[in-house]
Symmetry: C2
DNA sequence: CCTGAATGGATAGCGGCACTCTCTACTATC
DNA sequence: GATAGTAGAGAGTGCCGCTATCCATTCAGG
């Protein structure tokens, strides 16, 4: 197919597709003449993935490029690849880290037998966690660290489901893509369902009546 | 204190503080003369909250304004206020909704006894969920909907912890703020911990050795 | 009381990002 | 041969979150 049809089938405007091509988010089509190229279903699939990462995952174009690079790398173990993708989809926030928050993260790791991680800034993921706790501290909510353990408890169930989902896929490429999609879209799903759970819980506890003094 | 000290104590540059004042994210200080105003700890607290929402929550200035407005509204029930905050911190994505994904969301609600919600686009939260599932469908991962139930399972534990955390706070204002901080910073914490859980699980299953054929 | 730094208030400018427009030279199609 | 579409590339756009500049005023130190 040519770019026009790719645009029609994906819902992405032609100029945007050209932009993605320039930015390296989409491999070039096969040139049949100096100004004619041919795109296949793989391009369509990739284009939809890019849109999913941008629209739902909220990734920047640069991050998408990193993620795709990690997906496309062929000479690494699956585990390393997953790690690279994790890093790419977890951009650090510009918050400066509070040493006490770093301590909280280290304690958390220690509590769960992970004694390796000494330098929190080493990984985007741990940096993200430390940044979140730092921010919480700065607004006087340092006790939010008490949530870490129950969160882990709930996340064990969730991570198991994620794993089962990813395990459905056969080829390593599909596994990686499932991981990316599952993680990023999963984040959004989690966010939404958590809010629904909050709403339900708050309705139960607070009800429509303003009676906060009830013993539960 | 004056703006210079506010800047020093918060780490936010003076011009940025002025910008926030203009944008209504920060109430004006008490004028003691035509060009002298006095700011108190409440301003500092609010300023830190704004930074937390922007840096960790990733909210736009406009969303922050909405959240603060919801926090500051005085004439609504706590439950309504929480709902307003939820909406404000859940911006809809520009994805167009797949009817099948909408059906998935409705089925999910039906499975859990929530029969009220007919129109998914009514709330930003349900819209977010439907958008995420739509995107998943578009990249060929429609079976991600199977994750909804296990996610809810894990999130029940998490939401309970959230509720306990919020319940520690006395005044309604503190409850609202705890809800905002707990939800937004909690999102980031959840994201990070989930990634750590993934990494751990993938290390266990895949190990450093490329032996995918092991029976678990 | 004088001087230099800081302040409130307002307007304009900047840098980054994700496109979007425009143009040229060409080609497929009717 | 007219028309529509295409590759490729550079410039332009719109928004967002600041940042710079300016002015009249005022505070703080000597």
């Amino acid at each position: 197919m040519r770019v026009g049809e790719l645009a029609k089938r994906s819902g992405v405007p032609v100029p945007t597709i050209k932009y993605y091509l320039r930015e390296g988010l989409l491999p070039a089509g096969v040139l049949t003449s100096p100004n004619q190229a041919h795109y296949d279903d793989e391009h369509l699939r990739r284009l939809r993935l890019v849109r999913a990462l941008v629209d739902v995952g909220g990734l920047s174009i640069a991050s998408v490029r990193e993620v795709l690079a990690a997906i496309d790398t062929r000479d690494e173990s699956l585990h390393n690849k997953l790690g690279a993708v994790q890093e790419a989809i977890s951009q650090p926030s510009p918050v400066e880290l509070d040493p006490l928050a770093i301590k909280d993260v280290q304690d958390f790791f220690a509590r769960h037998g992970q004694t390796e991680c000494v330098d929190v800034t080493e990984s985007n993921v741990t940096h993200m966690l430390a940044a979140a706790l730092s921010s919480a501290r700065s607004v006087g909510h340092d006790s939010i660290k008490e949530l870490l353990d129950p969160y882990l408890e709930g996340l064990k169930i969730i991570a198991r489901a994620d794993l089962d989902y990813v395990a459905q896929h056969r080829s390593p490429d599909d596994v990686i893509e499932a991981m990316v999609v599952g993680t990023l879209i999963g984040d959004t799903v989690l966010k939404a369902v958590r809010r629904l759970a909050h709403a339900q819980v708050s309705a139960e506890v607070l009800g429509d009546v303003p009676a906060p003094g009830r013993a539960d």
